[in-house]
Symmetry: D5
Subunit: 154 residues, 10 copies
């Protein structure tokens, strides 16, 4: 590759820069999210290239972490969402995959019973991760909210 190609950074480089800047700034995702006025889950996914920033949020984020101006252009692009492991190996992520395997047909059956012939959107969708205090040991609560989409007939 020649100079012309190498002169700027790409989205993966940017993700690495963001993680490094965040560590230097000693900021958590919850704090970053609050400062740019978004939720922590959205902020993490957009920062790591799984969602696109609206431009004003991109500028706030770039300023907060001291990233180069040109990072804004990359942050607002619709990313190509790619994951390489069909079955994730990390235990924390695998448990979510296992939940889909075990409870996927249950979720489908209850959506069909309650709403009719349709699905939960993964696009008009939001997600929260919270601590659920519990005397037997605190719990992780993951809440997903997606618009119900009915199949069309034509």
């Amino acid at each position: 590759m020649n100079k012309m190609i190498l002169e700027e950074f790409d989205r993966d480089d940017l993700t690495a820069m963001i993680l490094r800047a965040k560590k230097r700034a000693r900021l958590g995702w919850a704090e970053i999210a609050r400062k740019i006025g978004m939720s922590p889950t959205w902020t993490h996914s957009a920062a790591t290239g799984m969602n696109a920033f609206p431009s004003e949020k991109a500028r706030a984020f770039v300023e907060l972490l001291g990233l180069p101006e040109s990072a804004v252009d990359l942050l607002v692009e619709s990313p190509l969402k790619v994951w390489e492991q069909t079955v994730p190996t990390d235990p924390c992520v695998y448990r979510l995959y296992e939940i889909v395997g075990v409870y996927g047909p249950t979720i489908k059956a209850l959506i069909n019973e309650e709403f009719g012939n349709g699905i939960m959107s993964a696009i008009d969708f939001s997600l929260e991760v919270e601590r659920e205090p519990n005397p037997k040991g605190d719990r992780v609560r993951v809440t997903m909210s997606g618009k119900y989409l009915a199949y069309s007939n034509w």
Copy 2:
């Protein structure tokens, strides 16, 4: 296979019998669940062989749907949880798989930030599916609650 083997039904036969009996009885999962004192998500997953019934719940369930007495023995067994599609094709189930692919690393990062080095349990775990009324179109809310498990060091 000879008579000795064929004389009883296996777990898959039982699931088919349950679905048929449910249809004949014109009962929804929510109603069945209420009558046996469990949640709809757990009831569906246990009825379709993805969880084991405690014996008193098995008896109530068998009575409610008019299943043979011997079904209790199968319902209380710890099932071997098997799914055949590594990547589910049904659109309603696939969207959940996609959510794990897109947001799995985000959920992991926020669990680590909030709780430390550990995961959300998929065993000491519960799940609800609810309707979320919304003027722009109602939404599906899926809530997962799993005990936080810290990695041990030794």
Copy 3:
């Protein structure tokens, strides 16, 4: 399996019965579709278990093809949409897979350019297959129409 399980037919049996009845009746999909007031593509996919019938359409379909009354119950259920070949081998279907491989990123780029950060729905969606007369040899025209869904930010 005992009598209790075998007494009715399942969705795959129904599909076989439909194809047989259609052949006996010497009806094409276009004609069946017209008679029940739906499009040919939707009618074929619903008849072969890839979409759910509204109940009045199910009754019209059952009457038209002389199927058993109990078929209505199966036709109106939300089917579990399953395909077994990750990469389809039939040449006619493979060409569609190839088009997704070759032009998928192009379609994504143009949707993003025209609409913003979102996708084409495959649920609020319809599809037509038509003949396109052409002096150099007639062409097949496949038209897909899906609602634009914008990613939510939260």
Copy 4:
């Protein structure tokens, strides 16, 4: 690798250069396409290495974006069309894969009914992506047109 090998850029480098030049020029695919007299879908796929440019179009494209003269040689070559994800993970592209899985057999059945024993070509083929205005929310329309090819008997 020695100097001799590194002195020029390859097709992947060229794609990166094109995307960068397009961003600097603040041009959309529709505008680029119009300026070289081709459609936006073809222009995007050829620019990103999924189709070969006729030489006059290659020269117009190179001039428009200020690419090096030697890019013409690469643009006119028949590319080896490669995609690495058997099942695409990006939601926008996956929906197209899902459509093939759900409706592929339907499209085949209707082609066979209308045309006979044959397929839609993916080579003598064109594709358009358009906005379909709709009061309930605009829609994406994807139109495919491929020559009908009859199987030969011999």
Copy 5:
């Protein structure tokens, strides 16, 4: 499955019937092909469900092998061409797969050099298998002939 479903045979049953009838009649594929006026390769592939018979050929074939009249209906249908082994294990078939792996890019390069930007059709296509006498040991000659299809630009 009930009577209604079982009353006729399907395409796989028919293939088994054909192979059995051929063995009883002590006929080779070359001889069968000659009697129905087609080539041996086409005749074998159509008889085993990988091509569709024109109706007069179907009738001649059914008569020759003494198959039931109703077999004609199945023989003339456009079959769904399915193979289950992504990489074939049978040594005779694997060698063909190996040839595609080793020489596929060579065949592509020479087609592009000789014809331009296009491919060899596998639909408007024929195939012969012949003995090539040779003093060092006879050889198998496989000849493929497919129409050249140029990529369209639009």
Copy 6:
């Protein structure tokens, strides 16, 4: 990697050098093949690392394209033949894979009928690609010739 390792080029580098030199020399494969006295298909496959050159052919090839002397050593080695896509995605190569899927069992059946219990060799093997003029559009003819190998019994 240190200097010692980087001082020479490997087989992949050589392939890149060959393709570059061929383009600079404005030579087609047919012409190169004629000048070294081999067929175009063999020449392409050997040049791109899918066959080994006899040493005199290697020297003629190196001289013709102005490659470094040391390339001869690499050209005469028995290459490890590797392809990375189990199912090729390029349409021109995929059609060959499809032909093996559709017609592989047919080719096997006809070899067994004509020769007995054995296969066509892919090692004592040659291949040609030719233009077949045809008023309805020229055709590509691919001819394979492999020694018949009988299974041994012991």
Copy 7:
């Protein structure tokens, strides 16, 4: 399936019959092989459908085990050699797969060094399994002998 199809047994049925008959006759593979004048490895592979019997050997085998006359027809056919596990799970078979993984490139390198540019045939091939007495524990010796096949150049 109707009567016509079920009236005879297929190759898999025959293998089951052979294993049952062998057990009833209390014969080992070595003894069966000696009685029909072949080696034990060939006899086992042919009996289980991985090789074709010459007709006189088929008749001797059928007589020895008291199989139905019609079994001869199946035993002499060229079988389609199919195995379903890409990576075998049985530990005894897996060790052979592991040997190919670890030592495959070594065997290739030494064949190339000793013979030139070619391979060991798996068709003109034989195999023996023997006991190798050893004071530290007897050993299994597997000897493979395949004709050297040189790649042709053309």
Copy 8:
């Protein structure tokens, strides 16, 4: 990566250095093996990172090929044996895979018949590759010898 990491070579670099040094020294594996007092198969596999050298053999090998002193440390390590192709594509290696597919169950059956319930070790194991002169064409003989290991019962 910084200087600290790059200052030495890793096992893959070493393999490349060995192959280069062997070529410069114009030595075959048989000759190298003889000079260090080991067999050619073991020597090749250990040199290419599929076995560990005893330290005195490592020193002899390093001296013979003029490798850096520090190579000894890498040569004596237990390598992580990795192969990337589940099904090998190189024809010479594939034939070995095919032999395991076709004859694996036969080898297992004969080991069980001769030795009892156990396997051939792939660890306490050796392998030779030899030329078998034959008037019809020389043959490759591969001899494997592995300790019989009986399954334990407990």
Copy 9:
């Protein structure tokens, strides 16, 4: 399949018969194991077809569970050990797979450090599962013991 084939049961039928007989007899694996003088883990694996019974143990087992005499023949055979899920989905079994993924390289490194260049045998091997009382919640202890096998050099 005809009568001759169906007259006896196969290994899978036997496993089903064993599980049914065990349930009728209200016996646990620990109790069965004690009565035949083996460990519970071995008894379960042999009963479900993953190990072979010595003949006296087979007779004791058959008598204890009231199985047919002919079951002894099947129980003493060396089973072909097959599992169908490359990655197990059942959460209890998956955790073991995960442990191999996370700690496999660690176990290898410590075996190499302690014993030298070799492995732990999975054939000369035994396994126990025990309860480990613990005030914070009892634990499962799995103990594996396999003979150390050194790689041979030759």
Copy 10:
């Protein structure tokens, strides 16, 4: 990538630095583990990026091996646990995979029998590798201890 990105090392670089430093220091894992007050298995897995260090252990480890101060930050992070081979090829690791395949269902059955409906945790988990002296050849003992986790019902 620009300077900003390259200025520090990542987790893979750190693993390489650790292995190099360990070799220079001539320390075994057992000795390193003892010096930082942890077990050898945990120490190896944490050092190679499969577990997170508590901060005081990270500091002790960094000091012991003379690593840069900034390594502490990386050592205390919750790693994303990734393995690339679904089925491990290294013989020492594969044997563990094989044990899961053969004995996984046995371990599950005995956990269910002894504890009820639940699993062994792989998170609240520890592992030891020890030498088991034995006159017939020393053995490797692998002991796993994981908290029993009961499935919740809700």
